[in-house]
Every structure is written in structure tokens, then in C-alpha cells.
Subunit: 389 residues, 2 copies
Amino acid sequence: MNKISIVDKYVELKRKSGSHSPSINSIKERIPELKINVDACFLSNPYATELFLDYFKREMIDTDEIYSVLEFYPSQNRIIASYVEKQLGIEPGFVFISNGAIEVIQAVIHRYAKGKIMVILPTFSSYYEYATKEMEVVFYYLDKKNDFKLDITDYISKVNQIRPNTIVLINPNNPDGGYISQYDLKRLINELSWVENIIIDESFIHFAYEDNDLTMKSIVKGIINKDNVVIVKSMSKDFGIAGLRCGYAVMSKNRVDDLLANGFLWNSNGIAEYFFQLYSREDFLEKYEYARKKYINESKLFFKKLKKIKNIKVYSSLANFVLIELLNGLNADEVSTQLLCDYGIYVRNCNDKIGLDGEFIRVAARTDHENELILRALDGVTSFTEKFH
Amino acid sequence: MNKISIVDKYVELKRKSGSHSPSINSIKERIPELKINVDACFLSNPYATELFLDYFKREMIDTDEIYSVLEFYPSQNRIIASYVEKQLGIEPGFVFISNGAIEVIQAVIHRYAKGKIMVILPTFSSYYEYATKEMEVVFYYLDKKNDFKLDITDYISKVNQIRPNTIVLINPNNPDGGYISQYDLKRLINELSWVENIIIDESFIHFAYEDNDLTMKSIVKGIINKDNVVIVKSMSKDFGIAGLRCGYAVMSKNRVDDLLANGFLWNSNGIAEYFFQLYSREDFLEKYEYARKKYINESKLFFKKLKKIKNIKVYSSLANFVLIELLNGLNADEVSTQLLCDYGIYVRNCNDKIGLDGEFIRVAARTDHENELILRALDGVTSFTEKFH
């Protein structure tokens, strides 16, 4: 194995992917000689994936139902939305089904955001990259000295001062996993009721908790009468089904009507429709709840062990990943490339994330076994590299 | 079987579906007691579906590859576009991948169409329904007296007179199957070079032909340097894979860059990506070409036999369906409901299509065996109903 050529190929592939990481499939296709043992870049619950694939095998493949799902047209947006409305326990008309969360992020920003959009940094880059030329992006920086925790009072006062048309919050935030409590979020929504668009991205909310029972949190029920709030939800993370492109948003009936009046009628594929049906079924949700809690508990343990590794700082997270700062001369390019090429561990190199001052990687929790592989590899790389600095 | 209640349920379901037909899956779910033998509403080549599903079974299901396709992120737009560019034999940068043709129809109309949009009637309704409030829709009516054939000279002169910003042509047209020759289309593009957006929808072009060899036609290669022309292509019809949501558009590099600059990065699902890869493979394309020609030949024969049925007029079509006018007092509601409830034959009742003066249904060609069932049923219904008028 020619390690240098593998490293070169990977660096080139990463360059081509812009501000997003190359997908595991792209890496496998372009660098087949690279053996990937753990994809700790991909932010998903592997137990939920397993659960979905088990249902899919029994109900779609073993029955041959998959063939008609691929051949015929899926249902229209509102029909699929009704499954999600049932699961959320809200009345019909508030849910917009989306081809991955990214479609509704684009739709809401392009249709409703005007003038200033205020985005927290660091963040998921599409929130500012999808802004149009007519918009002005204003950044609100999370303070590293405060461990990237959002100071809600300071944030509200900055919004009142800057007067943006649109604000975006990811809860928990990506890439640091910082969580805004439901209490603080309600306060923010109430105090900022004049903001025309408050976008709250709950794509990682299934991993957050406020009590020992790990009860699932969400602001959805609190915003039904708030016409200026849009809740964005990806299903790729909590259910580990990124290939299906399932997402949705909860927003005012008027906005759902407006978006569907001249578009987005048939934006789901047949397997996405099947997933949303499952998502409204008691039997599936009961099993999912078990998988969710198991994963959170294992992740907590994993993060605890990570904190013991030398030469790194692990930031506190209520998501399914942690942001790790590399200390004592370690750098992100070197560490992430070594993890990949020497150990087959793929992590997110954060050196392209704006708003992060220092050397950072982001590591997702995986299965217990995979977490052990990550711990061993990271311990190896950070100790080994240390000797040369 | 209570026929009246089935008819009522169907009429209600159709009402709810707006200007589009209820999908076969919706009908099956809502009226399970109804037995559908032939779906002649769905415009697809069943032999191509069979071919795709055969590949899919061997390469995705039997290998368990399907599971990682569903779990992980598909590639970005440009990577998938490169497969289509290879198939079309055009240089990179001109293809935009779309979540079904409908996504790019929406994107192009919402982003580039301004002021007047001129749409031919009858047509696929999304072309005017997706117009925004700021736009003005102007209709150009095909003349029934001229068998809905487009008079290219008259059309060009009307466009020159009305001065729309955007014009839309479906070739062959839906629902009548009328075909504009490549010669006429080139003339139109040249004479109307001042029109800012010429949208040509080639979703049914694989079924059209100009010679006895049934050579595949397309205007794609003729428009590469025409910045104002957008070719829209659905794959749901020619490949019979509506559940995958595969579509694309060929347009200027500037427009592809513009659309991708702030959106549409990850709009394909994993199975759609697999299809587009297949679409660039020699072995698949060779078998597809056989399935395409077999289907066209059988469809020609079917249309010929349809023309012999009494009390109907079958309009000439170069698509995979025919528009049928019901004569001598037959009406579309009655005939389509009878075909469905008495024979299990689902056809498109065109009574909601604007621009059609009279009683019309649209019937798709299916397999040889299914075509025979359609012929027998239609003969039965039109002879039977005749007695009561």
C-alpha cells in the first residue's frame, strides 16, 4: 500500500467537495485501496438504521413490494405529511414534506428570508451558503472561552440590536453539540416575536435530553401558533437513512399552503413514503425509542472515555457527536488523515469550518464496538504525533 | 361487490387529487375492493421497468448493496450529472440533476421566468400551475379541427406578436401525443432566439421516431450553445421508474452554476443515483434500446387496432399514449368509471384538462397482453353505452 498516494488522493477528493465532506461512497469509489473501518464522520444512530433496514427487508424486499414502490408514483406532499402530523400529534396542515431537510432549508430561505439573515458560527454551512445574492449574512460567533455555549441573553440582545429579518438556530448545534434548553428557546421565541423568520433546526434533537429518563425533547408543540417560526427536521441523523432523503418542516398553515400552491407536489420518492408511513406506526416507534435510548447511553459513555485522552479537549455535547480541539501542536489535517489512512477511521476535519479558531475535528458516536476502535486510534495518533512535536 | 359505493369512492378520490389523477397506490389503498387489471393511466414502458428491476434485483438486492445505498448520503448533483453527460455525449457542466422532472420545471419557472409565460393547451398542467403570482400565463390553443397538430408557422407568429418572456413546448405533447419534427423545432429555436426562456420538455421523446429504424430523437445536441433553451427530461416515462424520482435538465453552464450556487446540492436519493449510473453503462443501454423498440412497435399496432373501435376518434400520436375523443353521446366520466369498475382498466379521464372541447380520455400503451384487455374493454363499454343513447 502506497500511503503517500492514498493521502494525496484523499486530500484532492476533500478539496473537490467544497465545504462539505466527501461521502463514504465517494471515498470508496475514488480510493478503493483505502479500507474504512469506522465512518465517524457520518452523524447517525446505527441501531436505528438497523431497525429500519430490518423492517424494510421484511415488508419491502421479502414481499417484493419494493418493485411496485419503485415503478409507480409516490403520493403527493400532503398525504405523506399526514403521517408525520399523526406521529407529532398535531392537527393537519402544519407539516411540509421535504426531499431531505436541505430542500426545505433552501425553500424557506429563498422564499421568505429577505435582507439580513443572522447565522450562528460555527454552524452547518448551507445556512449561509444558500443565501441569495440579495441577502446579507450576519454572523453571531459562539465564544470558545465559553466552550461554544450560546449565551441566550447576549444573543437576544444582539438580535434586537442588529434587527435581522431571519435568524437560524440549530438545536443541538452542529458541529459543537451545544444545546439550548426548551425553557431558553421558549423565552427566545417570545422575546423575538418581531423577527419575521425564526428557523430552528431540530435535526439532532432526538439525541438531546434534559432528564435521566432521556425523554425526547422538541419545541414543535410550542410553536403551532407562532407564524414566524419554522422547525426544520432531517431524518438522516436519528434514523440513519441519508440515502432516502427524508426531511420535513413544521410551519404555519399559510406557509405550507403557499409553498404547495406552486410547487413541491411530488418531492418524495417511494421508499421515503414507506419510511414516513413507518414513522407513524406504534410498533415501529416503540422499537425506535429503545434504539434511541440505547444509543444515547452508549454515546454518553463514549464521550466520557474520549475526555480521558491526552492532548485533546472534548467539548460537552448533547448531540451524537463531539467537537474535539487538538492541543499541543497537533493539527487537524494531520490527525484526520492519519486516522483515515492508518486506522481506517473517518472523522470530520473541521479546518474548513468558519468560526472555529484552532485545530478541530468532529467525531460521531457509533456502535459500542466502533467507539472502542475510535478511542484506540485517537489515543494512538495523539500519543504518536506528540513525540514529534 | 357494491358497485355504486365503489364508483362514489372513486369519484371522491378523483375530486381530491385536483388537476392530477389519483395514483394507482392511492386507489388501491382507498378502494381495496376494486380490482385493477391494467393501469393505462400511467405513461410508462413496462418492458423498461422490467429491465431496470432485473438489474436492481441482481446488483442491489441480491448483493445486499441496497442497505448501504439507503444508509449513506448519495453523491452531490454534479457527480450524478456526469453520468448523464456521458450518456448524452456532451461535455461536462450542462446537466442539472433533478428530483423528478417536476423539480427542475419548478426551479426554472421560479428562477428565470418573468412576466408572460406562454403555454400550449392542452398540456401537462404543472406548466401553468407552477407560475407565480407575479407571472401572467398566456395560452396558445391547439386546434381540434387540425387534430391538435401544432402549426409551427402560426405558433412562431403568435409568439412574435405576444412577446412572452418564456415559452413551453412538450415534444411529444401530453395529452395528445403530437410531435414537432426536429427540423421544425430547430427552425423555431432559431426564429425565436429573442425569447428569454424556451423550455422544451422531452419526457416522451424516447417513444417518438422519424424513420423506420425508430432512431432515438432529441434536440439536446442542437441547443448546447443556445443559452435561452432548457431541455427538461423525466425518466419516469421511458424507464417506468416513477417511484425513484429521476429527472434532469440540459441548459447553459451559467444556469447550472447559478442553480447550484445556492441550492440543489443533494437532491437525489441513493436509488436514483444507482439508476443514473446504470444509464451511462453500455450493457444496460443496449438492452434498453431493444426494450424501447419492442414497446414502440407494439404500441403502433395497439393504436391501429384502437382506431377500429366504433364511436371513438383516436388522435395520431408519437408518444406512448393516445388521446381518444368519445363520440355519439358517450361521456368521459361514464366511460372511464365503467372501464375501471367493470373491467379494472384505469384510464385518464380528461374532463379536467383545460383546452379540450368535448369528451376525452387518454389511454397508455402497455404490454401486448394488457393492450388486448384494454381493446376488449373499450369495445365493450362503447358498444354497450351506445345502446342507451
